[in-house]
């Protein structure tokens, strides 16, 4: 399951190029229903299945990409918790034998808001968040989850500032 710029682009939400493909989870094919749109169980992506890891290596070779062009760094988010809406609005695409889940709009807004708080208004995450054109309700829902990610007193205020800025610049 993919988040970030690749997901935004494939969903047609934000048309921009991306440096890498962020894999946040994979479907537990052992315990999940055969139909990926019902009753899926998401698990941490590491380790990636061997055929996928080999394919990543091959594509990097073929297109002269960095070896981590598809990576699971974003999966660190599992430690602090994923947006509650993550499992609810996955769009599935099939590329040959590879099924790719694209994280939906509400989860993307939540994850982008979280990243934008770290990256500041000049960063790509803030721009993505802005380009998504979130409604007030979507921003509030996202903020509710983001503030749970950091208990420091300043963090809540930083989240509010970003939310306000997005609203103002709409």
């Amino acid at each position: 399951m993919v988040v970030g710029g690749a997901s935004l682009s494939l969903l047609g939400l934000v048309p921009r190029a991306t440096r890498d493909v962020d894999v946040i989870a994979r479907v537990d094919t052992v315990s999940s229903n055969a139909d990926p749109e019902t009753e899926i169980r998401l698990i941490e992506p590491d380790p990636l299945p061997e055929p996928l890891a080999k394919a990543i290596e091959t594509v990097a070779r073929d297109f002269r990409l960095p070896s981590n062009w598809m990576n699971t760094e974003v999966a660190l988010q599992w430690r602090m918790g994923l947006p509650p809406s993550l499992k609810e609005e996955i769009s599935w695409r099939q590329y040959g034998a590879l099924g790719v889940g694209l994280v939906g709009r509400r989860s993307m807004i939540a994850l982008k808001l979280f990243a934008a708080v770290d990256g500041g208004p000049g960063g790509v995450h803030y721009q993505d968040l802005s380009a998504l054109g979130p409604t007030d309700a979507e921003l509030d829902e996202a903020a509710e989850w983001v503030v749970t990610q950091d208990v420091s007193p300043d963090f809540k205020q930083m989240v509010s500032q970003v939310v306000e800025r997005v609203k103002q610049e709409r």
């Binding site: 091959t58 594509v59 070779r61 073929d62 297109f63 002269r64």
Partner: protein
Amino acid sequence: MAEEVNIGMLKAGADDAVRSTVEAAREAVLFVAWEQWHSLGSLATPVGKHRAASIVDPEALVLCSLMIRDEERRLDDFLGWWAEKGASLLSVQRMLNLVERFPDQAGVRLGAFAGLAADAGHKRWRRHAVTTGETAALLKPRGGKGRDGLDLVEAPTLMLRLRAGFGVGAKADLLTFLIGNGGVFASVREAAQAVSYTDAAVRNAAQEMALARFIEETGSRPAEYAADVRLWTELLWFNKLSEHIPGTRDHTIGPAWRYWEHVLAFLTGVLEWARIGVQEDWSPYILSSRARDLYERHKKAFKANRIAVPNPGDHCGTAYLSAFETTVAMLRDWIGSHV
């Protein structure tokens, strides 16, 4: 290769490059096979201006011929003739080592060749013979397509001559390589990679032959080995044996080693690449990626023979298809002047 490659079935964008690549590979591999079978004494008519001058790798020639027999059915005749007359000079172990480098079909088809050899009384092949089913009936040789008895007169038959003289094994093949290497010293590792035996087998063979003063050994560690080509060519009478054969090159320096196993494994791999590509409807990208795999797997064919070809790393994505086409064409051209 059960059917001819119908390139027209490929997805748009790759047809011309793949067609041209396959044609070059087919032309090259048939040329080598034809010239080398002729050198061994089959009734194959040579097609080159000159007679073949490099050392025939008999196991690679058999495997290559098994792979391309659908392209040229007369190869069945030569394979059948060789299974009867020459199988005793083939190394079963080396054949099994080499078959891993050829497309998967080669392993299956080898069972058919082994069946013919076993039927002709070569007991060593019995264990590998496939005697029932489709494979057993694969080869349909007609008789009378080679000399009644072996007559190893041409310089390219060096490996077989030395096997006939010293026995089938690492010593004969190592000596063949060292003579074909033109007197240049080679390490055990280099020699082992050339003749496809283990390092240990080649090391033992080299040490014993150096002890017998058949070959020279450097005092350095690791030791390197070379053959005195002038003395061996005199002893082996290359020119004398083939002086009556028109078009024969001067062999005062002995026939050359050309790493045919790698070249032929690559070329048959190219034909298989195209066949499967058509069968499975590969996209241009998959074709280009598998072409890179093929080159990487067989790059020794180019490096060992010092054939400069495009570097896959310089060609991004599907752009490699065109570079691969050039690679195969360059190999074909090299073969034309080095067989």
